[in-house]
Symmetry: C2
Subunit: 367 residues, 2 copies
C-alpha cells in the first residue's frame, strides 16, 4: 500500500512524499538521493530517538558514507536558537560540508528545527524528513516552513526551505499516545472543511477504522491531507494568497494555544479554533447551521475539544491582534460557506471575534 | 551619470542596482517599492551610522510610514548571532511584520547581517542595500549571499536571499580611508582577470583618475564589476558551477586572512591570493610570464600587497584544506590561462599550493 506524491515548484518536481507502512523502503529512497559519498546527521529528540534512532541509523549506514545522531531534549521549549547553535557546533565538529545532509526524525518541532538548520548551515544544505507524528506527517511535510521560537514568540525566526524527501511510515503512529494521534486529526479534518467535502464525509464514515489505526485508512487520509496542502502551497509558495486558507481555525487556535499550551496540544487548540471559525462563518451568514453542527460533530467524533472555558477572552483577543496574520492592521480571517469550501474574509471585526470566543467559552453546549 | 543594472533570476528581474553620485534619487527609487505604508529599519554600525544615518533617515521619512535606526558596534567581530538576536528583539519590540523592510547601510558586514536577518525574521521580509564601501558595492551587491560568522568560522551560518534594491552613491567612497578604498580595488581587478581583458587594461590606463575618485570612472568600474558578477551569478545562483570563478584569489586569500585579519583588509588578502593563483596558473603552464607580471604590476599600481612573509606556510595550507571549497576531498582551485579568462582546476595538489605560498612569502621580489 505504498503511496507517493510529487511536490512541485514552478512546475518542476522538487521532492516526493513517500507513504509506507514501515521503514523497509527507506534505503531504496535514500539511494535515489546519491547518499553513498555523503555524511548524514539524524536530528531527533529524546523521546522519538529512544524508539527509532538506532533502527534508522542502521538503515542509513547501509547506504551513506557516515551517519551521526544529534539528540536534543524533547519539548517545544527547546525549539530555539540555543538548540540550533548546539546543532551547528555538532556539524562543524564532525566536518559537515555543503554536500552532506540532515535527517529530521520526529514530530513538528524536530522537522522545523532541522529544516531551519539545513536552511542556514553554510547557506543551505540538503535535508530529508521522517515525520513520526500525524501532525508532522499531514502538516509540516508540505510547505517548506522551517523555524524556531524566539523570545516567547512562535516561529519568529525561520525560513522557507524545502526537503529533498519526506518518508512517512504509518506504523510510527502506533507509538504515539492516543491523544497525540487524535490531535493530529484536528488538522486532517481541517483539510476536509476548507477544500474537500467528500473527504470530510469519508472521515465521518471511517472514524472507527481510523481510530483503530487501520493501515489503508491511515495511508489514505495522510495522502489526501498532504495532497490538499500540496495543491494550496504550489499555488502560493510564499504565503501571499490562497495559502492563508490553511490558517482556518488557527487565528483563534494559536491565540488559545499561547495561553494553554501546557495543557492543550496544537490540534486540540485548532479544533477549538475551528469551532470559533465555524461560529463566525455562521454568524456572518455564510455557513448553514446544519454544516456548522456537522463540523462540531465530526470534531467530537474524534474526541477533540469543541469548547474551552479556561480562556480569558480579552487576553486571547489581544493575542489574535498581535498575530502574524495581521497585515496592515486588517486581520485575514478564514471562513467557510459550506463544508469543502473556504475563503479569506477581511471584514471580521474584533467584536465578532469576541462573540466567537464567548461561543467557545460558554455557549457551545447549547448547540 | 546615473547607471542602472537589472539582476535576474530565472529570466525575471528580481531587483535593480542603481549607481548615483549621491542620495538625491534614493527617495524616488524607494517610492517604486511602495513603502508609504511600511515601516523601515535602517541597520548600520557606529562608524558609518555616525556619517550617514541621519541623512538617510530623513530621506526615508519622506516616503515611509515610520523609520527606525538600529546601530551595532562596527567590526567583523560583531558579525555574529548575538547581534542578529539584538536586531530580532529590536524588530519585535517595534512590531515589525512581514510587510515591513530593512535597509542595510554600510559595508559588507552590515549587508551580510541585515540580509541574514531579513531572510530569517518571520521567515523572510524585504530588505534593500545601501553599500558604502567599494568592496560592498562591487561584491556583496550581487549574489544574495547573507550570513554571520559562527564560532570563529566565517559565514558559517547564512542564507541565499536577494535584496529588493541596491542603491550605490559613489560619493560615499570619499569617506573611506584610502587603504579601504584600494582594498576594494582588489575585487575590482579580480573581475578583469577572470572575465574581462578590456576592463583589466581600462583599470591600468585609468589608475590615476580612479585613485582620485573621478566620478565617471568610479561609476564605470562599479557598473562593470557588478555587471560581471551579475552575469556569473545569474548562470549559477546556488554556487554549483561557474560562480566558483569568483573565488579567484580567495582560496589562498581566505586562508591568509584567517591568520592576518587583524593586520590586513579583505581585498589585500585577495590581492596576495591572486598573486599566488597567478603563480600557480603560470607554474602549471596555463599562464604566460608576461600576463603573470601584468597582474602583479596592476595590483602594485593600486598599492595592493603582492607578497606576504608573515604567514606560516603549514598553517595557511591547513586552512585552505578546511576551506568550504573543498568538496568530496578535491579542492576547486581557480586558475587563469590569459588575462580575461579563468577556469576551475581540480588537479592542483597540496605541494603545488605550497609552492605558491612560498612564492608569496619569499620569491615575489625575484620577478
Amino acid at each position: 500500500m505504498s503511496e507517493r506524491l510529487a511536490v512541485h515548484e514552478n512546475h518542476t518536481v522538487i521532492y516526493e512524499i513517500v507513504i509506507e507502512e514501515d521503514f523497509k523502503n527507506l534505503k531504496s529512497e535514500l539511494n535515489k538521493l546519491n547518499v553513498s559519498k555523503r555524511k548524514l546527521c539524524i536530528v531527533t529528540e529524546t523521546t522519538v530517538g529512544a524508539i527509532y534512532a538506532e533502527e534508522i541509523k542502521k538503515i542509513l549506514e547501509e547506504c551513506a558514507k557516515e551517519v551521526f545522531v544529534f539528540t536534543f531534549e524533547a519539548g517545544e521549549k527547546n525549539k530555539n536558537l540555543y538548540t540550533i547553535k548546539d546543532l551547528y557546533t555538532f556539524l562543524i565538529e564532525n566536518h559537515f560540508d555543503r554536500k552532506d545532509m540532515l535527517v529530521a526524525l520526529g514530530g513538528g518541532v524536530t522537522g522545523d528545527m532541522t529544516g531551519y538548520c539545513a536552511a542556514t548551515y553554510l547557506r543551505g544544505i540538503d535535508f530529508i524528513q521522517i515525520p513520526t507524528t500525524l501532525l508532522a506527517q499531514v502538516d509540516s511535510s508540505v510547505g517548506g516552513k522551517t523555524g524556531v521560537d524566539f523570545d516567547g514568540y512562535k516561529n519568529m525566526v525561520g525560513a522557507f526551505y524545502q526537503p529533498k524527501l519526506v518518508y512517512i511510515a504509518t506504523n510510527t503512529l502506533k507509538t504515539l499516545t492516543k491523544r497525540e494521534f487524535l490531535s493530529g486529526m484536528g488538522e486532517v479534518i481541517k483539510y476536509g472543511i476548507i477544500k474537500d467535502k467528500k473527504f470530510f464525509y469519508y472521515l465521518q464514515k471511517q472514524a472507527d477504522n481510523i481510530k483503530n489505526y487501520e493501515k489503508q485508512a491511515l495511508s489514505y487520509i495522510i495522502k489526501v491531507s498532504c495532497d490538499t496542502k500540496r495543491k494550496v502551497v504550489e499555488n502560493d509558495f510564499k504565503e501571499q494568497g490562497e495559502r492563508a486558507l490553511l490558517n482556518f481555525g488557527h487565528t483563534l487556535g494559536h491565540a488559545i494555544e499561547k495561553y494553554l499550551y501546557t495543557d492543550m496540544l496544537h490540534g486540540e487548540c485548532v479544533s477549538v479554533g475551528m469551532v470559533g471559525a465555524a461560529f463566525l462563518s455562521w454568524r456572518k451568514g455564510y455557513l448553514s447551521e446544519y454544516d456548522r453542527n456537522e463540523i462540531i460533530d465530526l470534531l467530537k467524533l474524534y474526541e477533540l475539544p469543541v469548547s474551552e472555558n479556561r480562556i480569558c477572552i480579552e487576553n486571547v483577543l489581544a493575542a489574535t491582534g498581535s498575530d502574524k496574520k495581521m497585515e496592515g492592521g486588517k486581520i485575514k480571517f478564514i471562513v467557510t460557506d459550506e463544508i469543502g469550501h473556504s475563503f479569506v474574509d477581511q471584514s471580521v471585526s474584533l467584536s465578532e471575534m469576541k462573540a466567537a470566543l464567548y461561543d467557545i467559552a460558554e455557549n457551545q453546549t447549547k448547540i
